[in-house]
C-alpha cells in the first residue's frame, strides 16, 4: 500500500474505533458543547489505553503508539470529527514527555502508567497572580530543607486543580540570578498538607480554573524534575512540543457546523429572514478563515514531517483560529442571546424552564473569550510575529 492509501486506511480505522468505542453519553457532552471533566476524560482514556492508543505522542517503549506527526494529526482530527473528547493534555502531552526526556527511571516507573491508563490526573502550576504572560517573573518559593523542598506561594488559573491528583509546578529556587535561571520544576501531590485549592469563578459559569495556595508544603526532592534551577528549560521543552497543538482545526469545524444547525433551527421562518441571512453570511466568512487555517495546519505538519523549522507557523495558526472561533461563538450568541442570555443563572423555583435549553451557547461565548488570552495571548503572539517580520 502506498502512503496515501495507508493514511486513508488509518483514518478509517480511527473513525471506526471512535464511533464504536467512545461512549455515546461522552460524545453527547462534546456534541452539546458541554463542559468536559475528569469523569468524561478518564473513562475515554482508559478505553484508548486498552486499545493501545493511550499515548499517540509517546515512543513505543513507554507505552506510546510511536506514530509520526502526520498520524497523530489524523488521530486528533478524526476524534474531533466524531465528537470524541480531545485527550486530556496535562499528563499525556505536557508532563509525560518531560518525564520521558528528563525524568529518572524511578519517576518514569512511578508516573507514566497512571497517565497512560487515566488513573492519575495532572494539572499545571505555572501562572501566578504576578506572572501571567510574563511567566519568568513567578515568585512561589521553594527552599531546600534536608530531603525536602518547602514551598510557599500561590498559583493561579490552575485548570482542573479541583479534580487533579498532582500538579507539575514551577517554583523559584534562586532569587540571585537571571529570572529564568532560578526556576525549578517539582511534582507536587495535591493531597499534601498546606495546599488549599479554591475555585476561581469565571464568567462562563463553568468551574475550570482555581487558585492554589501553598503554605509550608513539603515536597520530597525526589519529586524534582532534572536539576535544580533548570526548570525553565523543562517548561520550555514542554511548550515547544505543544507548538503544533493549533494544527488541528477539526474541533473548530465541528463547532461551526453545530452553530450553523443552531442558526437554522433558531431562526427558521420568514420573520427571521434578515437575521438568519446575516448570520449565515458571517458563518461563511468564518468557514473561509478556518479553511485557510486548516491549510496552514497541514503545512505545519508537513514541515515537522520534513524536519523543517516551524518558524512563525504556530503563531499564525493561533492568530488565525482563536479570533475565528470567538466569532463563531458570537454568531451563536446573536442567535440565542435574547432567549437565553436573559436566563443565565437560576435564582429560585422549580417551575417551567428550570433547564434552559441552549444555555451552553452563552456559556461558550463567555468561555471563548479565553481563547485569545491563554496559551500566549493574541497580543503576545503578535509581538512574536512582529519581531520576526521586522527583524527587531
Amino acid at each position: 500500500m502506498d502512503e496515501t492509501a495507508e493514511l486513508a486506511a488509518f483514518r478509517a480505522e480511527v473513525r471506526d474505533f471512535a464511533l464504536t468505542h467512545c461512549p455515546p453519553e461522552i460524545r453527547a457532552v462534546v456534541a452539546a458543547n458541554g463542559k468536559l471533566g475528569r469523569k468524561h476524560w478518564a473513562p475515554w482514556q482508559r478505553i484508548l489505553h486498552a486499545h493501545g492508543w493511550g499515548a499517540p505522542s509517546w515512543p513505543r517503549e513507554y507505552g506510546g503508539t510511536g506514530w509520526d506527526q502526520r498520524r497523530r494529526h489524523i488521530f486528533d482530527e478524526v476524534l474531533a470529527e466524531c465528537d470524541c473528547p480531545p485527550q486530556y493534555h496535562h499528563g499525556l502531552r505536557h508532563i509525560g514527555p518531560v518525564l520521558i526526556e528528563f525524568g529518572t527511571a524511578a519517576q518514569k516507573a512511578r508516573f507514566l502508567p497512571g497517565i497512560l491508563n487515566g488513573e492519575e490526573w495532572w494539572c499545571q502550576g505555572y501562572s501566578e497572580p504576578g506572572a501571567g504572560s510574563d511567566l519568568a517573573s513567578l515568585k512561589t518559593r521553594a527552599v531546600r530543607d534536608g530531603d525536602d523542598y518547602v514551598v510557599n506561594g500561590q498559583k493561579l488559573w490552575t485548570s482542573h486543580a479541583h479534580e487533579a491528583d498532582w500538579m507539575y509546578t514551577l517554583v523559584r529556587t534562586n532569587t540571585e540570578v537571571k529570572r529564568q535561571e532560578g526556576i525549578t520544576m517539582l511534582l507536587i501531590p495535591l493531597s499534601t498538607p498546606g495546599i488549599r485549592v479554591r475555585e476561581v469563578r469565571t464568567i462562563d459559569s463553568w468551574h475550570h480554573v482555581n487558585e492554589v495556595f501553598l503554605e509550608d508544603v513539603r515536597v520530597p526532592a525526589a519529586n524534582r524534575i532534572g536539576e535544580e534551577n533548570k526548570g525553565w528549560t523543562y517548561g520550555k521543552f514542554l511548550l515547544d512540543r505543544e507548538r503544533l497543538g493549533g494544527a488541528n482545526v477539526a474541533p473548530a469545524f465541528r463547532f461551526l457546523e453545530r452553530c450553523r444547525e443552531l442558526v437554522a433551527r433558531q431562526l427558521a421562518g420568514p420573520a427571521h429572514a434578515l437575521k438568519r441571512e446575516q448570520l449565515e453570511y458571517r458563518l461563511l466568512l468564518a468557514e473561509a478563515e478556518l479553511r485557510g487555517a486548516r491549510e496552514l495546519g497541514k503545512a505545519a505538519v508537513d514541515a515537522v514531517m520534513a524536519g523543517r523549522p516551524l518558524g512563525l507557523m504556530p503563531s499564525e495558526l493561533k492568530l488565525s483560529t482563536a479570533d475565528t472561533v470567538q466569532r463563531i461563538g458570537a454568531i451563536a450568541l446573536d442567535a440565542v442571546g435574547e432567549r437565553v442570555a436573559t436566563r443565565f443563572r437560576p435564582v429560585d423555583g422549580s417551575g417551567p424552564n428550570a433547564e434552559v435549553e441552549d444555555i451552553e451557547w452563552v456559556q461558550n461565548f463567555m468561555y471563548l473569550r479565553a481563547k485569545t488570552i491563554f496559551g500566549g495571548s493574541n497580543e503576545v503572539q503578535k509581538n512574536v510575529v512582529a519581531k520576526q517580520l521586522f527583524g527587531m
Binding site: 461563511l284 473561509a288 479553511r291 485557510g292 487555517a293 491549510e295 510575529v385 512582529a386 517580520l389 527587531m392
Partner: protein
C-alpha cells in the same frame, strides 16, 4: 532580516514575470496622464504577447505552450507581486477556457491576433445579434474582439467599427464601456453555461493568486517603510500599535495564502469561491491598513505601496465579489 514573502510557486517563471512587472511599474510610475499610461501599457502588452504568455494554456497544436494551471499561476504570481496592470487572467485563463475546442481561435489567441476582452454581463442576444450595455470591462489596450456571454450562449463580437470608451481602473488597468444595439456576432456555443462558469472560476482563482502575491509585497513594503521612517525620535517600527497591525496583516495574508494554495491544488468551484470570499475580507483589510500605517504617504498616487493596495482592493470586484461568492456557496 525583515520579512520577504515566499512565493507559492517559485521558479524561473515566477522570477521572469516578476522582473517584467517590476520594470513595467517603474515606467508607468513616471507617467501622469492616463492616455500616456495607456500608450505605455500598449507597448508592454505587445511585449507580453511577444513572450507568448497568452498561449500558456493553449495546446501546442494551436501554437501554445500547453502549460498547466500551475504554470500560469506562477506567471500570475510573479506578475501580481509587482501589480502588473495588464489583463493576464482574462487573456491567459478566461479566454482559452471559453475557446476550448475552437482551434483556429485558440491559435489566433496564442499568436496575439485575437485580443479579446471578456464580457460576462450586460449584453443579451436575439437571433444572433447582440444588444445592451457592458461597463468597466477589463480589456487589452487595443481589443480586437469581445468574447460575450449572453445568457447561456457564447458569442464572438468583432469590435472593428464598434465604438467604445476606455477608462483606467483604480489599479491602473484599462477597461472599456460598450453599448450595442442589434449588432451581428458569431455564435461559438449555444449551450456554454458550464464553460462560462468554469472560465469565470479560473479567472477568480488567477485573480486570487495575483492579489495574494500583491499582498505579500505590500506587507514587505509597509514593513520597510515603518523601519525607515522616524517620528518622535524613533523608527515607526518600534511602536507596538503599528507592529501589531502589521502582524494582523501578515496573518490575514498567510491565511488567504492557505486557501489559494488549496484552490490551486484542487480547483473546485467551492475552493475557489472560499478563496475569493476570503480575499474580499483579507485583501480589503490589508490594503486599508497598508494605506493607514503609511500615513499621508499612503494617500499619494506614486507610492508603490498605495498602487499595490489599489490593485488588491480592485481584485475583490473581478469575477464575483465576496457577496456573489457567498450567494453561490449559500445556495449550494
Amino acid at each position: 532580516m525583515a520579512f520577504e514573502p515566499k512565493p507559492m510557486l517559485p521558479g524561473d517563471t515566477f522570477d521572469a514575470a516578476r522582473r517584467f512587472a517590476e520594470a513595467s511599474a517603474l515606467k508607468l510610475a513616471r507617467l501622469h496622464d492616463p492616455a500616456a499610461r495607456a500608450a505605455e501599457l500598449a507597448t508592454q502588452w505587445a511585449a507580453v504577447l511577444e513572450l507568448g504568455w497568452a498561449g500558456t494554456l493553449v495546446p501546442e497544436a494551436c501554437g501554445g505552450a500547453e502549460g498547466t494551471l500551475l504554470d500560469l499561476a506562477a506567471l500570475a504570481e510573479g506578475a501580481g507581486s509587482a501589480g502588473l496592470a495588464l489583463p493576464l487572467a482574462a487573456t491567459c485563463a478566461v479566454a482559452p477556457t471559453l475557446l476550448a475546442g475552437q482551434d483556429a481561435l485558440l491559435a489566433d489567441l496564442a499568436a496575439g491576433r485575437l485580443q479579446p476582452c471578456i464580457v460576462l454581463t450586460g449584453l443579451s442576444a436575439e437571433a444572433g445579434r447582440l444588444s445592451g450595455r457592458a461597463v468597466g470591462v477589463e480589456t487589452p489596450p487595443a481589443p480586437s474582439h469581445a468574447l460575450v456571454a449572453a445568457g447561456e450562449a457564447l458569442y464572438l463580437l468583432d469590435l472593428a467599427g464598434i465604438g467604445f470608451t476606455r477608462h483606467e481602473r483604480i489599479d491602473g488597468r484599462l477597461t472599456l464601456d460598450l453599448e450595442v444595439q442589434g449588432v451581428p456576432a458569431t455564435l461559438l456555443h449555444a449551450d456554454a453555461a458550464a464553460l462560462i462558469r468554469r472560465a469565470r472560476d479560473l479567472g477568480a482563482l488567477l485573480t486570487c493568486v495575483e492579489a495574494v502575491a500583491a499582498m505579500g509585497t505590500l506587507i514587505q513594503q509597509t514593513i520597510g517603510y515603518l523601519l525607515a521612517r522616524q517620528q518622535f525620535g524613533a523608527a515607526l517600527a518600534s511602536f507596538q500599535a503599528l507592529r501589531h497591525r502589521v502582524a494582523e496583516m501578515y496573518v490575514a495574508y498567510r491565511n488567504l495564502t492557505g486557501l489559494v494554495q488549496a484552490a490551486l491544488a484542487e480547483p473546485s468551484w467551492q475552493n475557489i469561491a472560499f478563496a475569493k470570499l476570503r480575499l474580499g475580507e483579507a485583501g480589503r483589510f490589508v490594503a486599508e491598513q497598508a494605506i493607514q500605517v503609511h500615513g499621508g504617504m499612503g494617500m499619494t498616487e506614486e507610492l508603490p505601496a498605495s498602487r499595490l493596495a489599489r490593485r488588491v482592493l480592485m481584485a475583490e470586484f473581478e469575477y464575483g465579489d465576496r457577496h456573489a461568492q457567498a450567494a453561490r456557496l449559500l445556495a449550494a
